[in-house]
């Protein structure tokens, strides 16, 4: 067999994933693998230098992504991927830092870090995979669990108000906010491409089915049923008011790109301000 032919027969994910770690631990029917494939496609299409990309993730099912990718990656403590990513970006502003983690990790345990990174407009991309519960630890109620959903710490149904993640990110100052379900794979890819090209705090929420816990406890069928259900109950409304994006249990999910604006990033604000105050004594840290 010729060299060229052999190259063509390789799995395209090999350049992106550590194939020796496969098969991954995600359950059959989980949508997480699809999101990782969309992310890989976005990186390939936007032609970023893979040596300048760093993935940070916390604990949880989605947190395993950092261990599976063949990029510089960091698997941090629970809820802390955003501060680690902030540190990475501050230490090496050339890096494209991507936080790839779950809802429990980013807005549950690490909620405070998330809002402050968004407030400062740190130049990072946060991909939050929302499966509506803490799946790796046994299906506890998370900050995003819809009212009425049955989970292991809510055997009679959940009664807490859930977070509306695009509204949270928007209110804290994110410059790019989008929400998709994992079956919108081409749109997720395009969204990640757009967000990678933007400077500032970008936030993409991807709704995925959790088959072993959320679907089983609520009798919603298998992964395929849930994937199809989320897709069919989603309605694309680009630029919708983020206050109206609450998700009800088995209700309609509004998806789309909600916020896409420009704002000076943390580095730009720091350099402009300190230059104004200190004058020539100040040497700009980034750009300029």
């Amino acid at each position: 067999m010729k060299e060229e032919d052999r190259l063509e027969e390789r799995n395209p994910m090999e350049e992106f994933l550590r194939m020796d770690r496969m098969p991954h631990i995600w359950c059959p029917g989980c949508g997480l693998g699809t999101v990782v494939a969309s992310f890989a496609a976005a990186l390939r299409k936007s032609q970023v230098d893979l040596n300048k990309v760093a993935i940070v993730s916390g604990i949880g099912c989605t947190g395993r992504v950092a261990g599976y990718v063949k990029l510089d990656s960091f698997h941090t403590t629970h809820g802390r991927p955003v501060p680690f990513a902030t540190g990475l970006k501050l230490a090496n502003p050339e890096l494209k830092v991507v936080v790839f983690s779950g809802d429990g990790d980013i807005v549950g345990i690490g909620g405070n870090h998330f809002i402050h990174a968004a407030r400062r407009n740190m130049d990072i991309l946060v991909i939050c995979v929302n499966n509506f519960n803490y799946a790796m630890t046994g299906g506890q109620v998370a900050a995003t669990t819809p009212i009425q959903a049955n989970l292991s710490t809510a055997p009679y149904g959940n009664f807490e108000y859930p977070f509306n993640l695009p509204y949270l990110a928007d209110a804290c100052g994110a410059i790019y906010v989008a929400r998709w379900t994992s079956l919108h794979l081409r749109r997720v890819t395009k969204s990640i491409q757009e967000a990678l090209a933007k400077k500032g705090f970008s936030f993409i929420e991807v709704i995925t089915p959790c088959v072993t816990l959320y679907a089983r406890r609520n009798r919603l069928g298998d992964g395929l049923n849930l994937l199809k259900y989320y897709y069919e109950n989603s309605e694309i409304q680009h630029g919708a008011d983020t206050r109206t994006l609450d998700i009800d249990f088995q209700g309609k999910i509004i998806v789309g790109k909600f916020i896409d604006k420009e704002k000076p990033t943390f580095f730009e604000c720091m350099n402009t301000h300190l230059k104004k105050v200190l004058g020539d004594k100040y040497r700009p840290y980034y750009g300029e």
Binding site: N11, W26, L224
Partner: protein
């Protein structure tokens, strides 16, 4: 089938890594031409991997590759030999 202008149907090959498959059925459900189906046979882990039933129907849209959560299914496109130009094997 009718194609616009100079557009030609793509040619390629579907590769299935049966041992890595977990039988979720996403590829079978969302194939636009119903090229795949879940087979009766088991793989080493006890799942039913998909098999190709109508390869001549395949339009090589690569949706199965994009949707496979196990990264066990991928499609390679064949180069067009008639024109002699080196086209990209991947879009």
């Amino acid at each position: 089938m009718v194609y616009f202008g100079d557009l030609k149907p793509k040619k390629g090959k579907i590769h299935i890594d049966k041992e890595r498959c977990k039988g979720c059925g996403f590829c079978v459900e969302y194939c636009p031409r119903d090229v795949l189906e879940l087979s009766e046979e088991f793989n080493r882990k006890g799942y039913h991997p998909p098999r190709i039933v109508k390869e001549e129907e395949c339009c090589y849209c690569q949706l199965c590759e994009a949707i496979c959560p196990e990264f066990s299914l991928y499609v390679t496109l064949k180069k067009e030999e008639e024109e002699g130009e080196k086209s990209e094997s991947r879009p």
